[in-house]
């Protein structure tokens, strides 16, 4: 099944593409079998890392998987070319992933179903290579300072809002899809993998039936996306905001936000009811976006009250006491089950982050100040004891002299 993928990998490994890209190695597939790595089952592209001799930088080359066939292949190909269009629009935006080479084609020889050798054109495009993973901040959150993590979160928010400013919603945000990048001496966070991103100004390219299954990472997807409404354009920006809220929580906690949300029986029941209703609407053939949205709003209004969102500050958290309430409020504003209640105002989010950072900084300063005062007091006490001892010694000497 993955014969074509293997052929593509074999054709590129250790070869030079366009007389420009060398040292090519596949990154998201197993080189020998062509199967996706790391349980990346939803991948429809083959990504290579290469060295660009023109810019003397590493680049990422993304190929449309030649093994993709059947009814969904055309649709996936349209998504693939949409990703290129989106990247074209983001050229020159410093918080966005930069395109190096637009959609191009490369021919490879593959076997068709009758075992004839045929030439197949494989579409690909080239992007800058970013490898500043932020994963460690999440899976090892206790090793990092709270202020550093808040600075990172601020950067993540700015990166995501940079897309939103261009009317683009990512829809698959997770910490794997956010990379640290150095731009003019600034350390920024840049969203990558725009395969499921959507240009909010363009016409829809597929029917709702193409999205019957939830899209994006389940651990960072809001309830409406979990219930199969990820395709509704009006919800896509809110889905990104929800993911940011989840990641803020995960920066300070061991358990994923979604794992903790599922512990709430209120959420479990709300989720079950919503899931069922959406499935009912689909089975009734009611897939009109406006009507689906109305039904959703009614339903979530009815069932959402019982959900108790997880607190950012429970047992095992690394949130400093000083910022607990602020960060709790921010997480809840970003992850509300009612999408319209999610905080979309960039300035408001940044203000809340800044306020939490200040509170932590003040707490740290206070702790330092206390430590200094304590050390000072201890030194003074020590001196007093030494003086007393010296005085005693002098008195004893005087007495003995006398």
């Amino acid at each position: 099944m993955l014969e074509n993928t293997r052929t593509l990998i074999r054709a590129l490994q250790n070869a030079t593409l366009d007389e420009r890209y060398s040292n090519i190695e596949v990154v998201n597939r197993d080189p020998s079998s062509g199967s996706p790595r790391d349980g990346d089952r939803g991948s429809f592209s083959v990504i290579f890392r290469a060295f660009d001799s023109a810019t003397r930088q590493h680049v990422a080359i993304k190929f449309f998987d030649p093994s993709q066939q059947g009814f969904g292949a055309n649709y996936r190909m349209t998504l693939f070319s949409r990703e290129v269009d989106i990247l074209q629009r983001l050229r020159g935006k410093r918080r966005c992933l930069q395109l190096v080479q637009p959609l191009s084609e490369m021919a490879i020889s593959v076997h068709d179903s009758q075992e004839n050798v045929v030439k197949v054109a494989c579409g690909y495009f080239v992007m800058e290579w970013l490898d500043g993973s932020i994963e460690a901040y999440f899976v090892n959150h206790q090793a990092y300072d709270a202020l550093v993590k808040l600075a990172l979160f601020r950067s993540m928010v700015l990166g995501v809002f940079a897309l939103h400013r261009e009317d683009i919603a990512h829809r698959d945000l997770k910490y794997d899809n956010l990379m640290q990048a150095r731009r003019q001496d600034d350390e920024l966070v840049v969203p990558i993998d725009l395969g499921t991103a959507i240009d909010l100004t363009s016409e829809p390219i597929g029917g709702a039936q193409d999205y019957a299954q939830p899209v994006g990472a389940r651990l960072f997807a809001p309830i409406e996306a979990q219930c199969g409404l990820a395709h509704l354009r009006e919800l896509s920006v809110y889905a990104d905001i929800y993911a940011l809220g989840c990641m803020l929580h995960d920066l300070f906690n061991t358990d994923f936000y979604f794992v903790r949300l599922l512990e709430d029986p209120g959420f479990q029941r709300c989720f079950a009811a919503c899931n069922r209703r959406v499935a009912q609407l689909r089975s009734d053939g009611d897939v009109d976006e406006g009507r689906l949205l109305n039904h959703w709003n009614e339903l979530i209004q009815l069932t959402g009250n019982q959900v108790t969102l997880p607190s950012i500050a429970t047992e095992g958290t690394s949130v400093p006491n000083a910022a607990r309430d602020q960060l709790d409020r921010l997480t809840h504003r970003l992850t509300s089950v009612r999408y319209l209640n999610r905080l979309r105002d960039l300035n408001a989010i940044l203000r809340m982050v800044a306020s939490a950072s200040r509170a932590i900084a003040n707490q740290l300063a206070d702790q330092r100040h206390r430590a200094v005062r304590l050390a000072h007091r201890q030194r003074r006490e020590q001196r007093r004891i030494e003086n007393l001892a010296r005085l005693e010694h002098v008195q004893q000497e005087a007495l003995s002299d006398a």
């Binding site: 790595r37 790391d38 349980g39 990346d40 089952r41 939803g42 994963e135 460690a136 899976v139 090892n140 959150h141 206790q142 090793a143 794997d176 939830p214 990472a217 389940r218 651990l219 061991t254 358990d255 994923f256 794992v259 599922l262 512990e263 709430d264 029986p265 209120g266 479990q268 029941r269 709300c270 079950a272 009811a273 069922r276 209703r277 009912q280 009815l302 069932t303 009250n305 019982q306 959900v307 108790t308 047992e315 095992g316």
Partner: protein, 612 residues
């Protein structure tokens, strides 16, 4: 006149009264539930019984597990990079639990513990995975150690474990310790409330629930258990208030809806019943196969008198579910619409379904309804045969003591009477009267014997003796309803027949007369007393009032015939033969409908007529 209408017990819709489940854990990822008596029984004063419970671990559903498994695999693929981080291992372990991969979760939790042996959070998580895997002993060891060191979560877990083991005393000790650690924590009060509820201490439970709700006002679980606590203390209005909040927060939780429907039924306020009915209908739009809610919805509609809507709900459910209770309830609706043939069909069908599903309880309910429907549609032979067959197949004692089984015994005796197999009926009734039968059955049997000794084999002393038994049984019950009035009426009647008129008069003052057959016969009894006292006109007027108030044509005819007999004998004793003859002629003529209770009077009237 003898009261026989109260003998006819009204059919009740079959509703599965499942136990009320209350959660005893704090994290509901895996639910530890304890069963309490259902709401109607709590209201009747039944107390919970603490017993060891099993843990019900409810992970994410299969589709969620499938969706999350790749996320876990992706996380596990980073093990080389982050494998020494206890946070990473604990995170992966939690995700593995959610994916239902408990062995992976256990291994990861164990590794995390090795990396950070001093970390309490990691130890707590390790114990939690052990608990999910069913290893309560390992979990208890770690949690006990942590709780001794002052960890609140672990103390609460110890409470949970003790409740699951049925050791409420030890649970209380751990709870007190948790209270000392943090007396303001809502989880402590939630568990304290639940524990008090399980121990049957309603007021204490309410107190703790209110404290917990101050911090968690949106918790449906808290509002629900608060409602159960109110039900335990017998305050239906307060319970209703709490359950309404719970349903408002979550209109799609069948547990709260069922409790609301039961409480509304108990309360009986029409507005509340209508609101509950609407909520149940909305729930059924989303979950049309929920049997407990279907049954409650149909019952509420039925009791509101909205038979058509009830039938619609049940017919819709019957299309989806092969369920004996639903078919049985359709039979009851057929009885209400006087379509007894259809009712018999439905009850028979319900019996077959229940039998094929080995649901013995439902077989008994359907059989009780079937024999009652057969009896009331004059298919007395079939009623007798069916009830006799059923009685021979089950343990008689269990049938005599439980509802609805005793109805079958009741119908059998009354069918024998109607078939004129009086000796069979009397021997059965006398045999069962000596045993610890259900009070309602004892009353029925005693009343049947009163009828027999008053109307068939007239022995006033014997009749009075059984009337006394029936009335004593009814007087011993906590509530006095129409049946108590009926037995008192029969007692007065037998006293009149024994010519103990002073005693009869003193008891007659307690009788409640009114519209309907049961109330109308009281007028007849008072009329009879007046005639025996010689106040003929007053007696006649009372009889006339009773006849006008009676609903059943049979009862009206019997009253008229009895009045004719009484007046006929009265005038005959005074030598006014023309008047007496006219009245006795009326008393001797067989009346339309079911006239077996009047046959003795008809016979005696004929004899007297021939002597005059």
């Amino acid at each position: 006149m003898l009261s026989t209408s109260s003998n006819v017990t009204r059919e009740q819709m079959a509703v599965c009264d499942e136990d009320a489940k209350v959660e005893v854990g704090v994290e509901t990822y895996a639910t530890s539930e304890v069963a309490l008596p259902p709401v109607p029984k709590l209201l009747q004063g039944e107390r919970p019984v603490a017993k060891p419970q099993s843990v019900h671990v409810s992970y994410a559903d299969e589709s969620m597990q499938d969706a999350l498994s790749p996320e876990l695999d992706r996380l596990l693929s980073k093990r080389n990079e982050f494998g020494s981080s206890p946070t990473y291992l604990a995170q992966a372990s939690s995700l593995a639990v959610l994916c239902g991969r408990l062995d992976d979760a256990h291994r990861l939790a164990e590794d995390a513990r090795k990396e950070a042996p001093e970390d309490d959070d990691v130890a707590y998580r390790y114990a939690r995975v052990a608990f999910y895997r069913g290893d309560r002993e390992a979990a208890a060891t770690v949690w006990r150690q942590l709780a001794d060191g002052g960890d609140l979560r672990s103390s609460l877990r110890m409470v949970e474990l003790c409740v699951l083991d049925g050791d409420l005393e030890q649970a209380d000790t751990w709870l007190r310790r948790a209270m000392e650690l943090d007396g303001l924590d809502w989880r402590v009060h939630m568990l304290a409330g639940t524990l008090a509820l399980i121990a049957g201490r309603g007021a204490k439970s309410i107190h703790h629930h209110r404290l917990a709700l101050a911090e968690r006002p949106r918790s449906v679980r808290l509002h629900y258990t608060l409602a159960l606590a109110h039900a335990l203390t017998g305050h239906v209005a307060n319970a209703l208030r709490a359950i309404r909040v719970a349903v408002g927060l979550d209109p799609f939780w069948n547990v709260t809806l069922v409790a609301w429907a039961d409480l509304c039924r108990e309360d009986g306020a029409p507005r509340g019943v209508a609101a509950a009915s609407r909520a149940l209908a909305r729930f059924l739009e989303l979950y049309p196969d929920d049997k407990a809610v279907i049954e409650r919805h149909a019952r509420l509609l039925y009791e509101q008198g909205n038979f058509r809507a009830a039938r619609r709900v049940l017919s819709e459910a019957r299309r989806r579910l092969q369920d004996a209770a639903i078919v049985n309830n359709l039979g009851i609706l057929a009885v209400r619409s006087n379509n007894r043939r259809l009712a018999v069909q439905e009850f028979n069908h319900a019996r077959q379904i229940a039998d094929s599903q080995h649901d013995h309880e439902m077989v008994e309910v359907a059989t009780a309804n079937l024999v009652r429907a057969l009896f009331q549609s004059d298919a007395v032979d079939r009623a007798a045969a069916t009830s006799s067959e059923y009685l021979s197949a089950v343990t008689e004692q269990s049938l005599l003591t439980a509802d609805p089984g005793y109805h079958i015994a009741d119908v059998l005796v009354r069918s024998y009477v109607r078939q004129h197999r009086l000796s069979d009926a009397i021997s059965l009734a006398q045999r069962w009267m000596k045993r610890e039968a259900h009070p309602e059955l004892r009353t029925s049997l005693a009343e049947a014997l009163v009828c027999y000794f008053s109307l068939v084999d007239v022995q006033p002393e014997q009749a009075h003796e059984f009337a006394l038994v029936a009335h004593e049984v009814q007087s011993s019950l906590p509530t006095r309803g129409a049946r108590w009035n009926g037995t008192l009426n029969n007692l007065v009647f037998t006293l009149i027949e024994l010519e103990r008129l002073d005693e009869a008069e003193s008891l007659a003052g307690q009788l409640r007369a009114g519209p309907g057959d049961a109330g109308a016969v009281v007028y007849a009894t008072r009329g009879l007393l007046a005639i025996r006292r010689g106040r003929v006109e007053k007696g006649k007027a009372l009889y006339e009032r009773g006849i006008s108030l009676a609903v059943s044509k049979d009862i009206k005819s019997r009253m008229r015939q009895k009045l004719s007999w009484e007046l006929g004998t009265y005038w005959a004793d005074r030598g006014i033969l023309g008047k007496a003859r006219r009245l006795l002629e009326r008393a001797s003529v067989p009346i339309k409908g079911d006239d077996w209770p009047m046959r003795d009077i008809q016979r005696r009237a004929s004899e007297l007529l021939s002597q005059l």
